[in-house]
């Protein structure tokens, strides 16, 4: 004889109930199903239809059992949700950029090809994000199901965040863009030292920049890049002002004037590099002129952009919080 629908339902529901409660639970459930079937028959249904209809009313056996034994039907409930959400955000903000920058640095120092330098940090950042999400959620889901409550820090008014300056939030994109660009630029300067020309996948020890520049000019440019990062952070915190636009002019001049001067006087690029790409320096004529214009153009555009933003900032009411 095959098991009836009721037998199958009771078995399916009892499966997820702790063993100690199982016999009592099965007995209670049989009583309930029997009474529900009788009720359907009393209303004029055929026996088989009555059983089917009664089980439809009971719904998913796993869910029914969960309600009987007070098992949560959610992954993380209201007790832990806030703590879980804060922790996940905190871990993501700290661990993802840290691991991406760490891998980027490692790749640059080990002289990996440019494709890997870009791809590897992205892959690692993604997998770190997935791991953080998964393991944190797992711990909280277990805590939700354990009998003893996990101690959760009680909230106090001191944890209230400062009211956010909306203009600053808008500048965050600029900050990230600047820092990423400057970091890549500085990384490229260091990286090219070990050779930037690949023949059949093999790296030739030919740097782009003249190694003599390491005695002064390359460290000088690296320090300037660091100053640019600090400048970007200050802009993020304070916003553009006429003074900051002025400082921006100085920084741009400090970088572009020596760079163009070194370039035009033929001291910027390594002779071996020019040989390798067979560039007949200094008779490069139009290319030299175009490159010079691009260099100077970028600097001038950046200077104008600074003044434009300072002017826009001036005309807007200053966001202030009275407190």
């Amino acid at each position: 004889m095959t098991a009836s629908l009721t037998d199958r339902y009771v078995w399916a529901a009892a499966r997820s109930v702790p063993e100690a409660q199982r016999p009592e639970f099965q007995r209670e459930l049989r009583e309930r199903i029997g009474d529900a079937i009788d009720a359907h028959i009393a209303r004029g249904a055929a026996a088989a239809d009555a059983e089917h209809a009664a089980l439809v009313e009971l719904g998913d056996p796993w869910q029914l059992a969960a309600r009987y034994v007070d098992r949560p039907l959610h992954l993380i409930g209201p007790r832990y949700f806030a703590a879980w959400w804060r922790l996940v955000k905190l871990l993501l903000v700290i661990l993802v950029p840290l691991s991406a920058v760490g891998v980027l640095l490692g790749q640059v120092l080990s002289g990996a090809p440019i494709g890997e330098i870009i791809a590897e940090p992205i892959t690692v950042a993604l997998s770190v994000a997935v791991h953080v999400g998964f393991w944190t959620t797992l711990v909280f889901a277990i805590a939700e199901r354990s009998a003893t409550a996990m101690p959760v820090a009680t909230w106090t008014p001191e944890q209230l965040p400062q009211v956010r300056d909306d203009a600053r939030a808008g500048r965050l994109g600029d900050l990230i863009g600047s820092v990423v660009f400057l970091a890549i630029f500085a990384g490229a300067i260091v990286w090219q030292q070990a050779g930037a020309i690949f023949v059949d996948g093999e790296r030739l020890p030919i740097p782009v920049l003249d190694p003599d520049l390491w005695s002064f000019w390359i460290p000088y440019f690296l320090v300037l890049l660091a100053l640019e990062v600090a400048f970007a952070v200050v802009i993020y915190l304070r916003g553009w002002t006429w003074t900051m636009a002025g400082v921006n002019v100085l920084l741009n001049a400090a970088f572009t004037v020596p760079a163009v001067w070194l370039f035009l006087s033929g001291r910027l690029l390594a002779p071996e590099f020019l040989d390798a790409i067979s560039w007949p320096w200094p008779s490069g004529g139009p290319v030299v002129v175009i490159l010079t214009f691009v260099f100077v153009g970028i600097a001038v555009w950046d200077i104008i952009d600074g003044f434009r933003k300072a002017a826009a900032n001036r005309s807007m009411p200053v966001a202030s919080v009275v407190g």
């Binding site: 007995r27 209670e28 009583e31």
Partner: protein, 113 residues
């Protein structure tokens, strides 16, 4: 339609606690799940089987109901009865119900005294 859903939601919320009180009062005479469900609904206390059966189990676990299996008939049935602790809770809940009713009446009639 959305208004109807809204009303149903609020009504359910308002009735939620009253089911416990109704069970405790009704089970002063012992009865089994389905009979209790029918008699409560017949008396205008709307409750769903999916709510009532797990509730009986919980109240028993909390010591507010006692239970006994009756095997006289072909189908064994679990008969629940209000325990002394359940009786005490019912008295407290009833008193609070009356207090709320009075307070609401005063609110609606606008009598501030």
């Amino acid at each position: 339609m959305q208004d109807d859903d809204l009303t149903i939601g609020h009504l359910q919320e308002l009735r939620r606690g009253t089911v416990v009180l109704a069970c405790l009062v009704r089970l002063r005479t012992a009865d089994y799940g389905y009979a209790l469900l029918e008699s409560l609904n017949a008396r205008g206390i709307t409750v769903d089987a999916n709510t009532l059966y797990p509730l009986l189990r919980r109240l028993e676990k909390q010591g507010l109901l006692t239970s006994e299996w009756n095997t006289d008939e072909s189908r064994p049935r679990k008969f629940y009865r209000t325990s002394p602790a359940g009786e005490a809770l019912a008295a407290e809940l009833t008193a609070d119900w009356r207090r709320l009713d009075d307070a609401l009446t005063r609110l609606t009639t606008g009598d501030e005294s």
